[in-house]
Symmetry: C2
Subunit: 333 residues, 2 copies
């Protein structure tokens, strides 16, 4: 079965490229509100489930023990730009647990945000693991290990005690099996498990509402979502989609990108969770898709019009001339 075209890329009025994909919108009880394409095919959610992976960091009391607030919680759920604000906050969090950059096992890369790379190079610096877009998530893992007296070395391995806790949280929230059969390795070396979009969508409805989760888990999920929506810069950074959209939505929408064209999102006031993947892995199309879905769910609300702006990004060239743009297609048009 071939998923439908969700997004078209235009140049000079002609469709230049096309992105296919699938979308699931579910409530916390498992009722489908919208399904486009194959929502049963397992997909690796990658970084889109970082908020679920941050649950034990809050539930174990680690976040409170170290005195962390919204910014730190948001950074634990982030795919960040590696800007100074992200790097210094991750460094400060590690220091609270008596650790430093050497404890991070995510690997180093230059900041995802080119301006941050240029500033770092100009200042004579070089990339380390703090600049890795996943360093906040890994910092949360490390803080939880230290607080819980769990040996942190090797924390990225699938058989490590902390990864087992994360696997349990992912299974609990999504209701899908997570094991060696559906396991891959993520860019930051931790396991990622392929599960159906419908399970992810229901899971994000549960995260947003607490329905179907234990009391402590529901409280932790609410705190993490609230933190991300209150401090969107720490979830992404300058010019990042999640940051821009959550800034506009002012606490009413949660979104989180994952590599290879994935988004998980929620509209808490509607009790709905959203999960989608562009077949080809393109972030640009996943962004347009998630915005189109949210704008549709909020139809009639002034916020829907603001979010609809994200469904029509303009493409400009190196002289700033508008040469085309993206638009939702098919059922999302």
């Amino acid at each position: 079965m071939s998923n439908p075209v969700l997004v078209e890329v235009l140049r000079g009025g002609h469709v230049e490229s096309r992105h296919r994909g699938a979308v699931a919108v579910f409530d916390a009880d498992g009722k489908a509100m919208l399904e486009i394409g194959d929502t049963q095919r397992p997909v690796f959610p990658r970084s889109a489930v970082k908020s679920i992976q941050a649950l034990p960091f809050v539930e174990t009391g680690a976040a409170d023990a170290y005195g962390f607030g919204d910014r730190e919680l948001a950074l634990a759920c982030a795919s960040h730009n590696g800007e100074v604000g992200h790097v210094e906050l991750a460094r400060a969090m590690l220091a609270k647990a008596g650790l430093d950059v050497e404890a991070l096992e995510c690997g180093a890369h230059w900041p995802s945000y080119q301006k941050a790379t240029i500033e770092l190079a100009r200042s004579g610096g070089t990339a380390n693991a703090l600049h890795n877009n996943c360093s906040g998530k890994h910092t949360g893992f490390l803080c939880a290990c230290c607080h819980g007296g769990i040996e942190h070395r090797g924390y990225v391995r699938a058989d490590h005690a902390y990864q087992e806790m994360l696997r349990g949280a992912l299974e609990d929230v999504t209701g899908a099996a997570h094991n060696a059969d559906n396991r891959g390795t993520d860019g930051c070396s931790i396991p990622t498990y392929a599960v159906p979009l419908r399970n992810l969508a229901r899971g994000f409805a549960r995260m947003a509402t607490g329905v179907g989760l234990g009391q402590e888990r529901a409280k932790a999920a609410t705190r993490l979502f609230a933190a991300c929506m209150a401090e969107p810069f720490y979830v992404g950074g300058t010019d990042r989609f999640d940051t821009r959209l959550m800034n506009v939505a002012k606490g009413r929408v949660f979104t989180k990108v994952g590599a290879e064209g994935v988004f998980c999102a929620a509209v808490p006031e509607l009790g709905l969770g959203i999960a989608l993947k562009c077949d080809d892995g393109a972030s640009r199309a996943a962004e347009v898709t998630v915005a189109a879905v949210i704008a549709r769910l909020l139809k009639g609300d002034a916020l829907a019009d603001e979010i609809a702006e994200f469904t029509r990004p303009r493409l400009t060239n190196w002289n700033g001339i508008e040469v085309g743009g993206l638009r939702p297609a098919g059922e999302l048009a």
Copy 2:
């Protein structure tokens, strides 16, 4: 009609993403040797036709008048990394025509190659139009204008005399109409025209063989292809697909990437031209596809095995761990 899946992206043994597209392989007489998907749908070839756009630079005598050799001709056909070698050669070419960076109308961007960006920033430099991946092509345009006594200002505009010459060359080589109806604006501000893959494939067979071209045009095409195959670094740069593949092929294969998942290529000894586009615009999939097609065309030759290596790129994460890879799918598997 939906084009077939040409490339799969794997993670942990599972297919994570899929790329669809179309492929045309034609000889210079217009005989189809291979067609996959819709090869009649017009596509913007973008930078994949830079060698055709470099024809007047040679035909007018400009390249010879300024004493340019293989490197300069290759750079005129390039989408380069903005490495020091590319930037300094473009600067030297402009100087021969009495011009400098100010004459370039392509716009500025930081080098496509991250290491070059970091080096430039570390040295206290900043990006200018010479770093633009298209600066070599634009330099060729400018040199031809100066040599021919054509006012160069505004040379990027569709109605400029030199763009009219380029449009004529594109129509002649591809046999497809190029006009306002199928025109878009490229990233570097010049026009790009959407034409069917089959026309592009036949056009590249003509470029490789001279069949169907006038004598001067055939000579210029042969010189440009020979220059690119002799100096692959100047067509792309460190780690670039075209550079790596042409280095391996040692003068037997010409390839050129275009933005949004396009390749135009040729195997001169077989008299065949190749054109392809991944529907979603992904370069990673277009690279695997063009390598798979060339390996198939050369089947039984030792070079086919070397080129087959390009069809299975490994994906490693930030710790250097292999986490997956790409592979040809469907008819190309």
